[in-house]
């Protein structure tokens, strides 16, 4: 509006680049960087907030769980299954050849050394997140005696490994440790 800049080839450049072009590019780039800087908080505000992350660990008393029993507890608002495996269940889990598994993992890899009877997994079907059945007495435990997801029919074995149905992976084993012989802390030391 104010004054029309004449294109000055006086500085010896006749390639059509003016000094003002630099100012234009610099100004728009600066604004662009600013815009990106504002996008960042707008995106991260949607990530889990501090209070959600603060619930990152939970303690579970396992003294009351007899062999063959399981309980359902909650960690980070997700269900967690804690199961005391019986000797036949452990034997059944160990008998399976790795080649038969969709997501090959041995029982030893899914439990703590010396505590092979304690199977602790998330109660979240790896297909689409339903809670599998098999914790409470009398519930359908599927064709492999572990857990059965009623939503789309995924069958898990006694080590909570996927054996049949649409789920792609085994039930997730969260990070946990035995605080004492009867107390387990789930989510300990996990970085999110």
């Amino acid at each position: 509006m104010a004054t029309l800049e004449q294109v000055e080839p006086a500085n010896g450049q006749d390639d059509g680049i003016r000094r003002r072009d630099f100012i234009n590019v610099a100004a728009v780039s600066f604004a662009g960087v600013g815009a990106v800087a504002v996008v960042l908080p707008l995106v991260t505000q949607m990530s889990p907030s501090a209070d959600v992350l603060a619930m990152a660990s939970t303690e579970v008393d396992i003294s009351k769980i007899a062999p063959g029993q399981a309980i359902k507890t909650s960690w980070r608002k997700q269900p967690v299954f804690v199961r005391n495996l019986t000797a036949p269940e452990i034997a059944a889990a160990k008998k399976v050849a790795m080649s038969e598994l969709r997501d090959p993992q041995s029982l030893a890899e899914r439990t703590k050394a010396g505590k092979e009877n304690w199977l602790i997994t998330l109660g979240v079907c790896t297909h689409l997140g339903c809670v599998p059945l098999g914790v409470a007495e009398g519930e359908n435990r599927g064709d492999f005696g572990g857990y059965f997801c009623p939503c789309h029919g995924s069958h898990y074995d006694t080590a909570a490994r996927i054996r049949k149905g649409p789920a792609p992976t085994n039930l997730v084993v969260p990070d946990y440790s035995f605080t004492s012989d009867t107390v387990v802390t789930i989510g300990l030391g996990e970085e999110v």
């Binding site: 907030s49 959600v52 359902k72 909650s74 997700q78 297909h127 339903c130 997801c149």
Partner: protein, 434 residues
């Protein structure tokens, strides 16, 4: 824009002239849905459904704004606030039932509108962008409907949110972080509920904006018609007002009567009883199903059970998204220059097979996945993709269409001269429009 014989807006009073010179909004409306928009005279009742979709969008926005005055988006209070609306708020039950069933009716009329376009080739040149904007509206409707269904925080709300956000975790590496980012937590919780409410309130207005683009794009070439033959002269058209306002008006009355019948006599027929149980993150309902209007897509999702290079779960999710995204290419997959299915004997048969196929998918999506149901949904899914990717291109190559009428008026008048001037209109011999 529009045809040469479109009647220009003429302000009737000094006041409307004063307005017209400053903000010609009445002129815009007159040219869009008034006497200034010439419409093919041979439209059948399938052409009423676009207006109906607009009406149901309006009903959803109005009832939704009212419901938001009484609802609280809190995991502890959401379910109770719905019961509060149903029991305590004056006429709250009616607003909520109107909103819930209004969503179903919105989808019913939209599906009829979409299949109308598929049969009559409304997606073909020069209306490709109209079709694609319509698909954008449809995708926005699905997102809005999903998030709205989560708000009551019942069992189906919660587990629907869990399953649908679980789609994202199918993608390797980035999937799970995206899911957690979308939810603002590890499972649906307060953060997810609040943001769903915020977006559920926003998206209908985005839809409204895209609807305006959809109509704008439509009014450049003008409406299509059952013969698919282009408008050639004034005798092929009638002004939108009063002809189609009247036809849309009485048909709207009929549809609203049906809406009222469902609203007052079977308000829960299309809902799921499990959603009257408060959300319980530790217990999944025995049989999770989405709302009826998502069932065909749910069947496609569940149809993939075998890992083939990619995990079955990822195939299911990709196929489900692809089933809609491929429609964006429809204008180029169907290469037949004949628009209307009425003049395409082979296409017509396959169109009805597709309709049946989608109905079968819907049935399979709502059934318990027994081996037989899974097999049927696999066949139906394969056919759905085959229809668009193989059958349509082949038909447009080999089909021999029936002869088209020389013009719209020729197709409706059958040579009877007096019919050409109903209601004493179009009395002038139409001059060749240029």
């Amino acid at each position: 824009m529009s045809f040469a014989w479109a009647k220009p807006y003429e302000p009737k009073s000094d006041f409307s002239r004063w307005i017209d010179q400053r903000l010609p909004l009445p002129r815009l409306v007159y040219g869009a849905i008034g006497g200034g928009y010439p419409v093919p005279r041979n439209l059948n009742y399938f052409w009423n459904f676009g207006v109906l979709a607009g009406v149901f969008l309006t009903i959803q926005i109005i009832t939704g704004i009212v419901l938001a005055m009484h609802y609280y988006a809190s995991v502890d209070g959401a379910f109770t606030s719905i019961e509060h609306i149903m029991r305590n708020v004056n006429a709250g039950w009616m607003m909520r039932y109107a909103h819930a069933n209004g969503a179903s009716f919105f989808f019913i009329v939209t599906y009829i509108h979409i299949f109308r376009s598929l049969y009559y080739g409304s997606y073909k040149a020069p209306r490709e962008l109209v079709w694609m904007l319509g698909l954008v509206i449809y995708l926005l409707m699905m997102a809005t409907a999903f998030m709205g269904y989560v708000l009551p925080w019942g069992q189906m709300s919660y587990w629907g949110a869990q399953v649908i956000t679980g789609f994202f975790s199918a993608f390797p590496v980035v999937g799970e972080p995206i899911r957690i980012w979308l939810l603002g937590g590890f499972t649906p919780d307060q953060a997810a509920l609040t943001r769903f409410f915020s977006l559920h309130y926003l998206l209908p207005f985005v839809i409204f904006g895209v609807v305006i683009l959809h109509i704008w794009g439509l009014h450049i070439p003008g409406s299509s018609n059952p013969t698919g033959v282009d408008v050639k002269a004034e005798r092929d058209t009638l002004p939108f007002h009063p002809f189609y306002t009247a036809k849309d008006g009485w048909f709207l009355g009929l549809v609203l009567a049906a809406f009222a019948a469902v609203l007052f006599f079977a308000p829960n027929a299309l809902g799921h009883p499990d959603n009257y149980i408060p959300a319980n993150p530790l217990s999944t309902p025995a049989h999770i199903v989405p709302e009826w209007y998502f069932l065909p897509f749910y069947a496609i999702l569940k149809a993939f059970t075998i890992d083939f290079i990619l995990p079955a779960k990822l195939w299911g999710v990709l196929a489900m998204f692809a089933s809609i995204l491929l429609l964006f290419f429809l204008s180029w997959l169907d290469r037949s220059p004949v628009r209307s299915g009425s003049y395409r004997p082979v296409f017509k048969r396959f169109f009805w097979i597709l309709v049946a196929d989608v109905v079968v998918l819907g049935w399979a999506g709502g059934s318990t996945p027994t081996p037989a149901v899974v097999a049927i949904s696999q066949i139906a899914t394969a056919y759905y993709f085959a229809h668009f990717l193989i059958i349509l291109p082949l038909i447009s190559k080999f089909e021999r269409p029936l002869p088209l009428p020389s013009s719209i008026s020729a197709s409706v008048l059958h040579g009877e001269k007096q019919e050409s001037a109903p209601y004493g209109l179009a009395k002038t011999a139409p001059a060749p429009a240029e």
